[in-house]
Amino acid sequence: MNPGSLNYFFLLIGTMIVFYLFNDNKLKQSVLLLASLFFLSFFGIIPVLTCVLLSILNFYFAQHAYKSAYNFPKLVAINTINIFALLAFRFVNEFEIGALFSAPFIGEQFVAALGIGFYSLQNIGYQIDIYKKRYTPEVSLLSFTLCNTFFTRISSGPILNIKAFNSSLSTLPSKLTEENFTVGLQRILIGAIKKLVIAERFSYYINLYFDGIDPGVKTGYDVVIACFLFTIQLYFDFSGYMDIAIGSARMFGINLNENFNMPLRSQSVSEWWRRWHITLINWFTQYIYYPVAYKFRSKRMMATVFAIISTFAISAIWHGFGVTYLIWGSLHIMYLIIENFLKKDLLKLNEKLTSFYYQLIFTPLTFILVSFSNLFFRSNSLADAKRLLLKLIDWRNFFPDISLKSWILNGVDWKMEFMVSMRLGFLFAILYLLFEEKLSSRLNKSKFSIPLISFLIIFLIVFGVFNSGTRFIYMNF
């Protein structure tokens, strides 16, 4: 069952009905937990067991350790288990399917323990917080487990702060308010539109370039387009999922953290990482970057460099064991270090050029740098990445050797349908990106507007591509 599939919406509506039948807070939480376990059971019994057992273990361990002086060896012990579980299941995944993206997008065996990458981080962070005495351990096993399993976001985040999530659980609404319903519905609809109307239209193209034995990539130009499109696709796919997750949670009166803040408008790679996958980056900043930077702070610049390296090295391993992820991580380490050294000059340049021209240069540049790193992020293997890179540097054959007309259409005979569809998706993507700021603030408004919601529903059904690859890309992690 994928978020965005019809089954998911049936589950959501069913859960909502039962949820609002009860008045008792504990019962409401139990309904959400049952729905979440039901959701997980679609992916097999292993995800359910892993998630529940790890939650119980972490819950009681923290409680027990807190009472009897939580010392460092205990922290190491519990987090070794958490990390081991995370790596073990990641390894099982890699082992079974070879490479992340080469597997068919639909299939249960694909995710050995759905969402383990996300809730393990939550648990690790929780243990560190308790150890550091940032707050007291949770008292309710029910809400703790729910925080790990909550079905709207288990497969791809956002990563929750257990404390903040539980405080919102204590004030679950007794009635579905107009505000929650409207914002929730709008967010779900825009999420589905991002995924089904925009991201899906790119998948034929991108799969052809990155997975194909079919020689999709003929020239460097194709590689460039494929990388750019993948970055756009990943954004629409992933943030679309987030919109559905946040919108669905809103239906139960729960506010999840935003995970994206218009990343494609970033003017530097460090800004990108403040706008992209925010909850994950916050986690890494809080539990890896700052402790490392703090420890070595007397080394000044070197401390920053070292902290960046450790953060992205761990991030790369978290994403997968492949060499391609390490290269992806290394590229971002390099970008950030260079940026850190040039920061003063860039600021001066910004003053000199005025922010309009600065933006005009550095927004596309950031996009290009990130897209280049995504070549490795998306490639199935090192050999594939090498194949694409070789095409990219072959400057003599950079542009395709065909007539201008077919170059513009970029396709012949029956493939035209895909090409037209891809261009249509691209048009929608550009329109969305141009009006992103206005649109997202409008969609967070709580007034129910008949024209707006009708428009979203009609647009989704008329332009949605419902047939292929309905999995969200980030469900793999």
Partner: protein, 316 residues
């Protein structure tokens, strides 16, 4: 709030019904969609050409017409497999008079197991509401059938394909065009000679080996029995295979034997063009991977086809 919500749903349903009605209307009248075109315009053909894109792009009815005196219609459909061919023929016979001859492209490649069992051309046929078509699609693409039976999502599943055709159809009706550019169903390949986007020669030769596809054979035999019922005599022909490709692949020869066996079993002629002079040079092809000749060599291929037809079919 709930009143507003219900009103919204009502607005959406009204709009979507209108959109679905318009889609049905335009789909039925799109001249470039052969299955729609044959339901609208009488063809009166004596020879019907059936096959995939190779048939659509390589058999030129105007050449056949002028040298045989018989009227030809090309029902080749890009991406079609035997199941699609069967549906095409079924649709044709539903609206048109039965032709005398059926020129059927049967190459070993026609039995490729293409990853899954999906139909390749009937992705837009939700509007046909024909039980025969429905059952074939149900067998080969159950997900599509399941999804498109949800109200208002008739065209959503293969949106990419239907959207393209609706745009095309609206364009045609704005220009008031009732026929496609090529009236006899012939779709000449693009102008350039060897398509640079196609597989390289060595890639074609190392292409996978395959196993006989029983689903394809089933529909192949259905075509044969449909023709027998309607008194249509069938002529099989094989594409002019690029010789390196053909010689390197032992499987192809086994396939050909089986096809020949089916041909003799039914007493149908089977034309092959492996030794023709253009199979020796890759420059004669537009696309090597599916043995598709280019614009320069197609007339010559048609001449050979006509000669064979005259020699062994029309003489009887």
């Amino acid at each position: 709030m709930w009143k507003k919500f219900l009103f919204t749903i009502l607005v959406c349903l009204l709009f979507l019904s209108a959109a679905e009605f318009a889609t049905d209307y335009y789909m039925k009248r799109y001249p470039r969609l052969k299955s729609s075109y044959i339901s609208q315009v009488k063809q009166n053909a004596d020879i019907l050409v059936l096959g995939a894109c190779e048939a659509a792009m390589m058999v030129d009815p105007s050449l056949l017409d002028s040298s045989t005196g018989l009227k030809t219609y090309n029902l080749g459909d890009p991406g079609a497999r035997f199941a699609d061919n069967y549906l095409d023929l079924y649709q044709y016979l539903k609206f048109q008079k039965a032709p005398k001859y059926l020129l059927l492209q049967v190459s070993p490649e026609s039995f490729y197991p293409i990853e899954d069992k999906l139909l390749t051309t009937y992705k837009h046929q939700a509007f046909l509401s024909d039980t025969v078509v429905f059952n074939v699609i149900k067998e080969l693409d159950p997900e599509y059938v399941k999804f498109s039976s949800i109200p208002f999502l008739k065209y959503s599943y293969y949106n990419i394909f239907s959207m393209y055709k609706i745009f095309g159809s609206i364009g045609y009706s704005l220009l008031n065009k009732k026929h496609p550019e090529d009236r006899d169903g012939f779709i000449p390949p693009p102008l350039f000679n060897l398509d640079t986007s196609a597989l390289s020669e060595s890639n074609v030769i190392t292409l996978n080996s395959y196993t006989w596809n029983n689903t394809e054979e089933k529909y192949f035999r259905k075509i044969i029995s449909l023709c027998k019922n309607r008194g249509i005599s069938i002529v099989f022909y094989k594409l002019p295979y690029y010789h390196n490709y053909y010689n390197a692949n032992l499987e192809l020869k086994k396939y050909e034997e089986r096809i020949r066996h089916i041909a003799t079993e039914n007493n149908y002629p089977y034309f092959t063009y492996d030794t023709s002079r253009f199979t020796n040079d890759s420059k004669n092809y537009y696309k090597l991977e599916n043995n598709l000749l280019n614009r320069n060599t197609i007339p010559e291929f048609n001449k050979m086809l006509i000669r064979d037809l005259k020699d062994s079919v029309f003489i009887q």
